[in-house]
Symmetry: C2
Amino acid sequence: MYNLLKSGNITSVPGFFAGAVYAGIKTENNLDLAILYCETLCNVAAVFTTNQIKAAPVILSRKHLSNNMAQAIVVNSGCANACLAEQGLADATEMANLTAEKLSIKVEDVLVASTGLIGSPLPMNKIQSGIRDIAIDKDGGHQLAMAIMTTDNNPKEIAIEVNEGDFKYRIGGVTKGSGMIHPNMATMLCFISTDAVVDKDFLQIALNNAVANSFNLIDVDGDTSTNDSVFLLSSGSANNKCIDSASGKEFQNALNEVCIQLAKLMVHDAEGVTKFIEVTVKEAVSLADAQNAARAICSSSLVKTAAYGNDPNWGRILVAIGMTKIKLLESSIDIYIDDICVFKQGQPTAFDKEYLRVIMSNNEDLRIVVCLNVGAEEATAWGSDLSEEYVRINSAYST
Amino acid sequence: MYNLLKSGNITSVPGFFAGAVYAGIKTENNLDLAILYCETLCNVAAVFTTNQIKAAPVILSRKHLSNNMAQAIVVNSGCANACLAEQGLADATEMANLTAEKLSIKVEDVLVASTGLIGSPLPMNKIQSGIRDIAIDKDGGHQLAMAIMTTDNNPKEIAIEVNEGDFKYRIGGVTKGSGMIHPNMATMLCFISTDAVVDKDFLQIALNNAVANSFNLIDVDGDTSTNDSVFLLSSGSANNKCIDSASGKEFQNALNEVCIQLAKLMVHDAEGVTKFIEVTVKEAVSLADAQNAARAICSSSLVKTAAYGNDPNWGRILVAIGMTKIKLLESSIDIYIDDICVFKQGQPTAFDKEYLRVIMSNNEDLRIVVCLNVGAEEATAWGSDLSEEYVRINSAYST
């Protein structure tokens, strides 16, 4: 059983501190450099970008996680520190060194993350003075959430408290990302803190599961990035009986919830989004089939533009499913748009198109349900529509 | 050796006739129903959509091609005749029957194609009178090109004459498609005629190769359709020595040229396109790697929007390559945008960004060259940019 904490964030978890400054990396006068710190060394699980081109902070953080432990994260926005060869690695290493010195911890216990434009070197003089100026604080979580934003309109953060019989613990999370959002990660950073005592191996399994059920089921524009990183830090200060795969169901559910809520916040904040799309695929032969079909629908440019135009064009939904290799039978498929059945057992229904158009226009979200009627598995994916505003934002990003 | 025929089209090939009418399937008063006819029975090669959801005309044409022969194609625009279960198949069959009766040929020798909105039944009374009214003619090729257009702005057609020593033959082609254009076919129809005598097996091999090097290397918006069909009809009336895989190099080159030119016309005519993108990937380990990388770049929404905004954002090109599984080494990659080197051996160059922006703005096409420096294979793919206009067109297609 878990409860949402009001105004909760990554430092709502005991033992975690954060702080941020405007170091001058971004041109606008907004926070752009932050540190997350835990008073004890943490077990860490991590998931990184699947892109073959990996940014320097990703390469360095993977190295620092060879023992799966860390005590701090230093993160900047405004510059991705990617595709800069040796210079990029040297700069990421210096960010870690400066942070380790400031916090009097080992450099190997510092993780580094960067987000922003690819190919521009970090302004290291600004990073140096910025790291020096950061004041970490028990209430700094929200500042960190602000500091990692790029084209995000809103900070995205959450914290929950889990009660498991005799003991309780918290999970806090923060994320950024509003473009290049696609299954198998995106231009996203996500940091998650917990004071729960969790078995090291299970911590990674639980994070993999949570990512598969959240960040890998959202789509904005089909691109993944060089910098994607999800870090889950477990301090163990809650002193609960160690959670492992046998006892971990509650922890897994709570972690899924944190990741799903953060994933949905990312889609709601997607570049140029006017409509949030939720797609549920039911009665698939396998979970993988259900997920693939739901993702395919969310990823289709034609479904996205139809959503933007409040056009109940169910043919595009069928086309998107048909492009996958999932098991299907056209004559068994049912499709519902905003709860109205538009296609039944392989044939269009006589639905009132004008009425549905009005319903779609009035609804803030678009809800698509596809029943494949060939199995028993179900999955939900989330996506954004595709608007003229998306094009406007992305046609001049590097200016 | 081949020559382009001036104002050439599908009936520039001896023995082929065509005609079209406005039957009233489309709301606008434009040609929407056409017939292609050959005075002799042809050998036929065909490639169909890879989408699991196949429209009725695709299912019927596949059946009629069980002997790889045909003598006519009947085609309509304005209605895809897809996702309509038994009714769809019955209507496609009636189209074939009416055409066979009109031309006094066997119904099995009639191929059927439809393009337009999915899910609306064909207005069969209009189809009946339309087929009756069509007058086929030696100069009807251009009319057919007009009649298969949907959101296309321009008809797309070509014909070439091939001289192979002692004999000559012609190849004519027509295509439609301007949205849902993606690797592995698209919402596209393409009909190709030739009077060359070609071995039946080699005819299919040659078409597969030509499609792989043309239509499968273009991208507009990542969606494939239920109706994609490419038909290649060979009448054999040129009386040349039968072309087979041993002697077929010249024929293959000529067929590739026809398909590549038609594919490029499709991208130039893409919905909302303001800029044509040509991507060449060089020095890849394999041809498949080169093609995959070139396609990935053409398919990236972020590359497309950057192209639209004349933004030399090479980071997005790298990200698109990195999303593939091709063999690469970041430190070996060179990138050129409109012939200016922006990334060399894994590092950004000191190119003049403002100058390149001016060049990009002045150029009608965008040319991207990526040199992987890990092998000897090369491929080119073509795509469109992504504009606000694309979104506008596709947000209200079914209205």
